[in-house]
């Protein structure tokens, strides 16, 4: 058992640290969840990509450095420790890209990935529907065969940053006669500015237009934008959620940096006599370390060829609850100022409130843990 970094990993860390020290904006960018902030974050992605830091684990031909997961974890530690901006490309990079690596064609990868790496094209996720949240397989938006492609109709909703994004990816019902709800679904990519697409922004809990619903009325999608085989959408999407819940969605670096900032806040604002609050700060430090080590073990297992599997559900429940607890502690440390809606902690808090909901609610994850890891029987949901 070994927790030391290789010489290459350490050199990579030093190179990343140096570049970030010189390039991370001195002032935080405006909120990613607003039009101005979105544009500023897109420009930052271009700057990252120009130095090939935006997608280090991708092959070089798409703008990456071809490094392994261990290097990516190192980069993430440095990235978040440097106080660098949030990632506007995250939906595409963490969800669509792994899907294309596993199920896309060489042509699709060559066409989609380079502009994703630079932030030139920002992708939104179009999975949920008003009547299909946790029960995603009950979705009703349709893909109907037409000459040279498909016509999409229906409604998608709660799509993060779709108000500002360029393109979207989602699952549509292509065979209404399939014998099971999760059969007869097809995975497609489409343009948010195509004829027939109406995007209506929805204010998030803090009022920022970070959410959107999409109304689709016979939106044409060429065959070239179908991922995998028609009818295989469910299987392909589920392989994506493994990525979404797993390692790629939240790196430990993010939480190590947040825990450090929390300790700083506690030292500045904490009442030394308040041992209850002190214990919660300690738990944030412990949790960040636990997540870092858990991830190190998972990465080592993946490197031996093991599949992430249901372990990613453990991962997802842990970080989402951890993130929320950390931000609640921060707001408590801020005292009366904890109520103020501006500032990094407030923004982080609102974002963390969504953690237990997206990427499969934590209740769904607990079912998966109980059934697949503990072998408990399926029951009524």
């Amino acid at each position: 058992m070994d927790l030391s970094y290789t010489r290459t990993e350490e050199a990579f860390r030093a190179e990343a640290r140096e570049w970030l020290r010189e390039h991370v904006p001195a002032e935080p960018l405006p909120s990613l969840e607003t039009a101005a902030g979105f544009a500023a974050h897109r420009a930052w992605e271009a700057e990252l990509a120009a130095a090939r830091w935006s997608v280090v684990s991708w092959p070089e031909e798409y703008g990456g450095r071809g490094v392994d997961l261990a290097h990516w974890l190192v980069f993430e530690e440095e990235y978040w420790a440097a106080g660098a901006p949030g990632r506007v490309s995250q939906n595409g990079v963490q969800l669509l890209a792994p899907t294309l690596f596993d199920h896309g064609t060489a042509e699709q990868r060559a066409r989609v990935l380079p502009s994703m790496a630079t932030g030139e094209t920002v992708w939104a996720q179009a999975w949920s529907e008003p009547e299909a949240g946790s029960d995603l397989a009950s979705l009703t938006s349709r893909a109907v065969r037409t000459d040279g492609g498909w016509l999409l109709s229906g409604q998608k909703t709660w799509s993060s940053r779709a108000a500002f994004a360029d393109r979207a990816f989602g699952i549509f019902r292509s065979d209404p006669d399939a014998d099971r709800p999760h059969r007869g679904l097809t995975y497609l990519m489409f343009d948010l500015r195509a004829p027939g697409v109406t995007v209506r922004p929805i204010g998030r809990l803090d009022g920022k237009p970070a959410f959107a619903e999409l109304f689709l009325d016979e939106v044409f999608v060429p065959d070239a934008d179908v991922i995998g085989e028609p009818g295989q959408g469910w299987r392909i999407a589920m392989s994506t959620t493994g990525n979404e819940r797993g390692l790629m969605l939240r790196s430990p670096g993010r939480f190590l940096a947040a825990a450090d900032r929390l300790v700083g806040l506690w030292r500045a604002e904490g009442d030394p006599a308040d041992s209850a609050l002190r214990d919660r700060v300690a738990d944030a430090v412990i949790g960040a370390r636990a997540y870092q080590l858990f991830t190190a073990g998972a990465a080592a297992r993946l490197a031996t060829g093991a599949a992430a599997g249901a372990d990613s559900s453990l991962n997802k429940v842990f970080w989402s609850e951890y993130d929320l607890a950390l931000h609640e502690t921060a707001l408590d440390l801020l005292g009366p100022d904890g109520e103020l809606a501006d500032g990094a902690w407030a923004e982080g808090y609102v974002f963390s409130l969504a953690g237990p909901l997206y990427a499969g609610t934590n209740e769904i994850q607990r079912d998966i843990i109980a059934e697949r890891l503990l072998g408990l029987p399926k029951g009524r949901r």
Partner: protein, 339 residues
């Protein structure tokens, strides 16, 4: 970076598991609690034979150590099988004497370590659980069964002449007594304080590992029970409330595990990672205790009886959570570097 057990470590844990499974530990635990230490002593001999105590004894004194990662693997199995007796305290004693020797006081190590590694005799140790503990000399575990009762008082190491009355713990297999005052002064000076700190680190590691093992055993039994116990015409394990509680229990244990082995690796690297050990101790301790609460809830009233072997694990979880560093002290230690 390869944060995975080696094949040898896995095989070692498996062989201990097999040996303990064949040893009928529940009978030994009940006998130990009931004033019949024979089967527990026999078990002790088999653990020594398997090299468990030698892991904490330096090679110069006929041991194989210090090997904290292997020791953590071993103590997860000891927890999984709820092995009774002062196993943690014997390891802590071995580290204390070995460290004293390294710091230029080899006398006690020469005299005592080879027998300790071979399992010829057992030791218990009373030392403050933290540097700033409110109870400078706590209880010594199983003082009436150990061959030597060692006591750390400030910068003095004593071999006590005996012990006070034996008190019953919440876990009947743990027997608590205060060491008697006086006895033989084995060593004194700053080296004693330094060696005691090292002993404390290993005691925290071994106790955290036991907590994890106890929690894993409780979870296994609870899952098995929830699959076969039916109510309302269905296995209770198909009910979401039960499933989610068991899922949370697994989650807590699986996130304690990397902290435990991360701390062990840091110890193996020759560091003194007090914060890492404290983090592992509180997390594994709380996870083990949480598993006990879940196990009791899932089993219902039958879990509230002594009749099930489950009780042997249920009652161990909380004392282990608090021994060698209770949660509040551990959390304070985690933040100490930042204060």
């Amino acid at each position: 970076m390869g944060f995975l057990p080696t094949d040898e470590q896995r095989a070692f844990a498996r062989s201990l598991d097999a040996m303990l499974t064949a040893s009928d530990t529940p009978a030994a635990i009940r006998a130990w609690a009931g004033g019949e230490p024979g089967p527990g002593r026999a078990l002790w001999g088999r653990l020594a034979e398997a090299g468990v105590f030698a892991l904490a004894v330096p090679e110069a004194y006929e041991g194989m150590g210090p090997l904290p990662v292997e020791l953590a693997h071993a103590f997860v199995e000891l927890g999984r099988h709820a092995v009774p007796g002062p196993v943690v305290e014997t390891v802590a004693t071995a580290v204390l004497l070995g460290e004293l020797a390294r710091l230029g006081e080899p006398g006690p190590a020469k005299r005592l370590l080879p027998g300790l590694a071979a399992g010829e005799w057992t030791a218990t140790l009373a030392a403050p659980a933290t540097r700033a503990a409110r109870h400078p000399v706590p209880y010594a575990l199983d003082a009436d069964r150990a061959d030597a009762v060692l006591v750390v008082r400030g910068e003095e190491l004593w071999r006590a002449p005996g012990h006070g009355p034996v008190r019953v713990s919440a876990d009947p297999a743990r027997r608590l007594a205060r060491p008697a005052p006086g006895g033989e002064l084995l060593a004194e000076g700053p080296a004693v304080a330094a060696a005691a700190a090292a002993a404390r680190r290993w005691a925290m590691l071994a106790t955290a590992a036991q907590s994890l093992g106890v929690g894993l055993a409780l979870l296994d039994r609870s899952v098995a029970y929830a699959r076969q116990r039916t109510q309302f015409g269905a296995p209770i394990g198909s009910f979401q409330a039960v499933k989610h509680r068991l899922a949370d229990t697994l989650l807590a244990l699986e996130f304690a595990r990397p902290l435990l082995f991360g701390a062990a690796v840091a110890l193996a690297d020759g560091r003194a990672p007090d914060g890492d050990l404290a983090a592992a101790k509180v997390t594994a301790g709380e996870a083990g205790y949480g598993a006990a609460r879940t196990a009791l809830q899932v089993h219902g009233a039958v879990g509230y009886t002594e009749e099930l072997d489950l009780s042997l694990w249920l009652r161990k979880a909380r004392p282990l959570r608090d021994a060698w560093g209770a949660p509040a002290a551990c959390r304070a230690a985690v933040l100490a570097p930042y204060a």
